[in-house]
Symmetry: C2
Subunit: 215 residues, 2 copies
């Protein structure tokens, strides 16, 4: 069975940005407010960070609970892992997620500055330098027959799209958020129609789910 490469639950602003400008320790999404970008997911029963009971079990919950379905590894860009640039100064930085990251699989972090792998709970982070196809081969092997999630950010997704390595992509467009500048995924989703089917599904929560799969 073919191992898919999947983008899942990736939120972009109405004007096409996955994150704002000015990332820092305090602001992982720069001037974008992650609470606004992911409110649709945070309101669902299956949101992994939920601390209170309840939550919706409508359409958006299907997307949040599908996040781990048959996923065996994740690939992410360095800026999803942390705000540092250049050679690692601080090996104490172990990601934004605390001691229980939501991945539960091997994670391959793209960086030109390798550092030793480490494990937090059931997530192991590997730091790899290579072109998308090479890193994907590593992630596929680690996924042991399951699919590979391409976790973002937008720059990383664009690199894999440019290399034609993406099989399916779920992007939640948040029309209420307009960023004006930042890390852009697209000017318009129509850019991808030459290679992908697209279904556009408005959710009662206000986000518009965009579902792409290869032609």
């Amino acid at each position: 069975m073919h191992q898919l490469v999947k983008v899942q639950n990736f939120a972009v602003s109405g004007d096409g940005f996955g994150a704002g400008e000015g990332q820092s320790r305090e602001r992982p999404f720069g001037h974008a407010d992650p609470g606004s970008m992911f409110a649709w997911a945070g309101a669902t029963a299956s949101w992994p960070n939920r601390t209170d009971p309840g939550g919706s079990r409508g359409l958006d919950d299907y997307f949040t609970r599908d996040f781990a379905h048959n996923i065996g590894a994740e690939i992410m860009g360095r800026n999803k892992f942390g705000p540092q640039r250049g050679p690692w100064q601080d090996h104490d930085w172990r990601g934004w997620w605390g001691g229980e990251p939501p991945f539960h699989t091997p994670v391959f972090v793209l960086t030109h500055h390798p550092r030793p792998s480490f494990t937090l709970s059931d997530t192991t982070f590997h730091f790899v330098d290579g072109d998308p196809a090479t890193v994907l081969a590593q992630a596929r092997e680690a996924a042991q027959g399951r699919d590979v999630r391409l976790g973002g950010g937008a720059t990383t997704i664009r690199e894999f799209l440019d290399a034609d390595l993406v099989d399916t992509m779920h992007v939640a467009v948040v029309p209420a958020v307009q960023l004006g500048a930042g890390v852009r995924l697209w000017v318009s989703p129509d850019e991808l129609l030459d290679r992908f089917h697209l279904e556009v599904v408005p959710s009662p929560s206000g986000v518009i789910h965009h579902l792409f799969w290869r032609r």
Copy 2:
């Protein structure tokens, strides 16, 4: 964690019937054509009976691939299991699904006429006589902490709704199919709004997904 009772991927005609009249060995859905009722699911990549490669990976595929998510047991009515009525004449009948049923868990078949349990591949069928709450207690124990799928048909779902034992329900309404008579789930989904939230999500395939969860 609470074990949910879930109706999943249950298709009804535009006029509210889960099956037609005149069930027989040759026609499990009576005068309804199952190909028309389940065309939306059959077109997806995750449809378990798919024999050719391909299939859509849009909205409908989320529903088909969610079918087994965290499910530990199924409860079904006798008419979902087979066309026989009254005492079992034919113990050779082992359901419509051949040697590899799509359940992969214990299945509890509601019947006033018990017969011995049997196993096909990784699905074991049990035949139980009892009110919905009693049978649900058995299914919950067998599900070992996971959720319980309420598989239908419409009469069985109505019994569990009447007993207020259903937590979530996904019904795919197929407007193109009008049956006029048969086994009715509802006159209108609005009948359930006193107890359930409802999201109505039209799919590009033409079916209208109805997602209910408890208030």
